[in-house]
């Protein structure tokens, strides 16, 4: 359900960017969504449709989610591995001394506009 709150944030940021660039309509917003960011892309696009169509700037604007695979690095053996498959425990050496390298992103990558 937090997807709706996130959509309101996206709309606020896109509006700001559109204003700064003198844009009157945005056709696509491209998001980077990390695999373990807890954001569900399908929910995000559903909430987006509902909220974006209420704004002239964003009517019919598509929200595209590019998924960033989650990668964890092991501090003990220095190797990297897929977070979703192995979680917090390094599959190479069994250490729990690991940290998430990427995959937690919820960011606006770019917007596509007609100029």
């Amino acid at each position: 359900m937090h997807e709706l709150g996130i959509v309101f944030y996206i709309i606020r940021d896109v509006k700001k960017a559109a204003e700064e660039n003198g844009v009157s309509h945005v056709s696509t917003v491209v998001m980077n969504i990390g695999e373990v960011s807890t954001v569900i892309p399908e929910y995000l696009t559903d909430c987006w449709r509902w909220a974006a169509d209420k704004e002239d700037l964003l009517r019919d604007c598509e929200l595209r989610c590019d998924i960033i695979p989650a990668v964890t690095r092991c501090e003990d053996c220095g190797k990297e591995y897929g977070t979703v498959a192995h979680g917090k425990v390094c599959p190479h050496c069994g250490s729990e001394n690991t940290f998430l390298l990427r995959g937690n992103e919820v960011e606006i990558k770019e917007i596509v506009v007609n100029s």
Binding site: M1, H2, G5, I111
Partner: protein
């Protein structure tokens, strides 16, 4: 045909909220007001714990409470009637969490003069509230025994952002397969700095230790 142009933004959706939260924290520091963000699942005993806690503390420091829920004002009324301290209800309008701006709007309606501690009872939910910094000085959460000791594994973000993990309903631990030591271990895995405090809000057991922790926190913040 119109030319299509791509404008690169590359900005985290949470960046503005993080900024708002940092600003709010700074203002609270100047005013000497400590804001605690209390989170948990629905039904973990947040309100009952708060009533016990406030009744232990209200003669020593001045407290106000903000209750955040999707709807109703049952919690705010309950707190006011049971403790006599000012308590306001915030409605999130369907949203599952509070952000820094909503928290600020709530604080605007709290008479802060002379208040040392504001407790924000966040929406009951272990997922979304963890994503949004409210501007609170500390995050605390309540995990109740019936929910199970494995929750730190299932909701990693919530446990990694909390400085205090209160384990409530310890009186019913024998009826559930709740392993306190395992729970401590799982919390430590998520956040080695987090304190784990077993209590029973119904009987009051352990609540004094929670009050002592909070009192120490408030005093340190005001220095």
């Amino acid at each position: 045909m119109d030319a299509v142009k791509v404008i690169e933004i590359k900005k985290s959706v949470f960046a503005d909220n993080d900024e708002d939260a940092a600003k709010l924290r700074k203002e609270l520091k100047q005013k000497g007001v400590y804001l605690l963000n209390l989170m948990s699942s629905p039904g973990s005993g947040k309100t009952t714990t708060l009533i016990r806690l406030i009744n232990l503390l209200k003669d020593r420091i001045r407290i106000a409470v903000m209750e955040a829920d999707i709807d109703s004002d049952v919690d705010a009324v309950k707190i006011r009637e049971a403790t006599g301290i000012p308590s306001i209800q915030l409605h999130t309008g369907g949203m599952c969490h509070l952000d820094a701006e909503m928290t600020r709007q709530g604080l605007d309606n709290v008479p802060l003069d002379g208040v040392d501690l504001v407790i924000l009872e966040n929406v009951g939910n272990l997922v979304c509230p963890a994503e949004f910094d409210t501007g609170a000085v500390r995050n605390a959460m309540i995990l109740s025994v019936p929910e199970g000791h494995d929750k730190p594994l299932k909701y990693p973000l919530m446990f990694s952002i909390c400085d205090m993990v209160v384990i409530n309903k310890m009186d019913v631990a024998p009826y559930f397969d709740f392993d306190l030591e395992k729970c401590r271990e799982y919390v430590r895995l998520r956040n080695p700095r987090a304190k784990v405090l077993p209590i029973c809000a119904k009987t009051g057991e352990g609540v004094e230790a929670l009050a002592d922790w909070l009192l120490g926190e408030v005093r340190a913040w005001k220095e």
